[in-house]
Amino acid sequence: MEVLQILISGVSQGCVYGLIAMGFVLIYKATEMVNFAQGELMMLGAYLAYTFINVLGMSYIPGFIATVISMAIIGVVIERGVLRPMIGEPPFAVLMITIGLGFILRAVAGAIWGTETKTLSNPFTGSVARISDLSVGYENLAIIVGTLTLCVTFYLFFRFTRLGIAMQAASQNQLAAYYVGIPVKRIYSLVWALSASLAAVAGVLVAPVSLLEPVMGFIGIKAFCAAIVGGFGSLPGAILGGLIVGVAEQFANLYLPPGIAATTAYVMLLVMLLVRPQGLFASIQQKKV
């Protein structure tokens, strides 16, 4: 029973990693840049939710929706203002820009909301669902259900809609996408909007189980490991990688000496790179020569 209990909390933690990892993967697939500020976008999402719900007194669901919409707009602004001027620059320069962006977002959050920890009020706190002997906190349940819903929506979106298919096309071949009539630059903005709102969802869902602080975005580094474990560039891989890292971390927490658990994500990353560098769902193929 204890194992099952840990499994569930691992899954819920893993879902958070998975959501952030999906943000990494979305941007990487479409634009071939790695956005190292993905974790900070999540942090910003959580703080915006705090502002809407705790400060402005909106109720939870409208506050949630307002957060997602504002983050989508922020995503577009970042793409237009910061990354579009970088088109054609070396990937390393773009990477440094996103790392810098992370620093700026942390500093801005610290300046606006202060560095002391905050709690987002939410309808879940304290309530626990009991399934026979298992007890699952509603906040964890919300994370799992939210992630599942998002996965299904994303699957349908990319499989069936004109916009979703256009996004896939733009990520596979820009030139070809242009000449079947896809506005590739506008698609990039939309990908950033999608990715930032995904981060917002992760932020709002994770806020009840962790505290709000400007450095909470560092979880993004673990999510990055999860994305690589899953096979960078694959959306199902991102979720699966997140789940694996999340569950492994919880078990390490229980069975290994204290402190080791914090390194789980990185150990798994190293092991994966040694054993199967392309990740679980290989979407990057080795160049044949």
């Binding site: 349908l156 809609t161 298919i165 096309a169 242009y178 000449y179 079947v180 009539g181 506005p183």
Partner: protein, 253 residues
């Protein structure tokens, strides 16, 4: 007959290199128009100007009575211009069928919600697209490759898939960038047949950049010869082949 496409005094330079110098030509509705010239003459640059990949330094391009010189590249398909590339630009991880279906992108008129719910109107549209795609498959003999992933196909077939995708756009004007490059003599001969088919069955006007003079003379109504980005001669294939300036451009004095 009126000109479907007119290029007027087009010029383009990259730094100090003049890729295209003051080129003008008219392409008539329904004709097969070839652009020839030695390597580096600026043929593909002209294509890239028409398809709006490059911005011209000066000059104008008028398509179907409308200036397209400041249209963004993604608008080209909906105006009715499709193109292929010298080295093929396909969606490598998708099947031939999906590559062709996305050619219908600009013709798709349904919204996010009806698509997610797969409403009747969306279904009808999909069926119609599939029919158009199947017609193209029949025309270009791609039946056996329908469900193969591009990455697994030989070069010659990929070139055909690119033409097929362009046809699915149902363009008024088709730009073919070296359709025979990398093909064996037999495949090159096929090219002249399907160019004839496309021109007849789809009523598409074709502009082609090509090195193979055999193919050019067999397929084209008119030929434009350029060298070092500048106009050399314009006329029927036999006029061009016997033109002293063209021979000088290729062979030197």
């Amino acid at each position: 007959m009126s000109a479907l496409l007119s290029a007027k005094n087009l010029s383009l330079s990259f730094g100090g290199v003049h890729a295209v110098r003051d080129i003008s030509f008219d392409v008539e509705q329904g004709e097969v128009f070839s652009i020839i010239g030695p390597n580096g003459a600026g043929k593909t640059s002209i294509f890239n100007l028409i398809s709006r990949l490059y911005n011209a330094d000066s000059g104008d391009i008028v398509f179907a009575g409308e200036s397209i010189i400041s249209q963004p590249a993604h608008r080209i398909a909906s105006l009715g211009i499709a193109r292929t590339f010298q080295n093929t630009e396909l969606f490598e991880h998708e099947t031939v069928l999906n590559n062709m279906l996305i050619g219908r992108h600009v013709h798709r008129c349904s919204n996010l919600f009806s698509e997610l719910l797969f409403l009747h109107s969306v279904r009808k549209q999909e069926l119609e697209f599939r029919r158009i795609v199947e017609d193209v498959i029949d025309l270009l003999d791609l039946q056996s490759h329908r469900n193969q992933v591009i990455g697994s196909l030989p070069y010659g077939v990929r070139k055909m898939v690119e033409v097929a995708r362009a046809l699915c756009i149902q363009p008024k004007l088709l730009l073919l960038d070296e359709p025979s490059s990398g093909l064996n003599p037999e495949e090159t001969e096929d090219v002249s047949f399907w160019i004839e088919d496309i021109s007849r069955d789809y009523g598409a006007t074709i502009i082609m950049v090509e090195h193979d003079m055999n193919l050019v003379s067999r397929s084209s109504d008119r030929v434009l010869a350029i060298a070092d980005g500048a106009f050399v001669a314009l006329g029927t294939p036999s006029e061009i082949q016997n033109h002293p300036d063209v021979q000088r451009a290729y062979l030197g004095d």
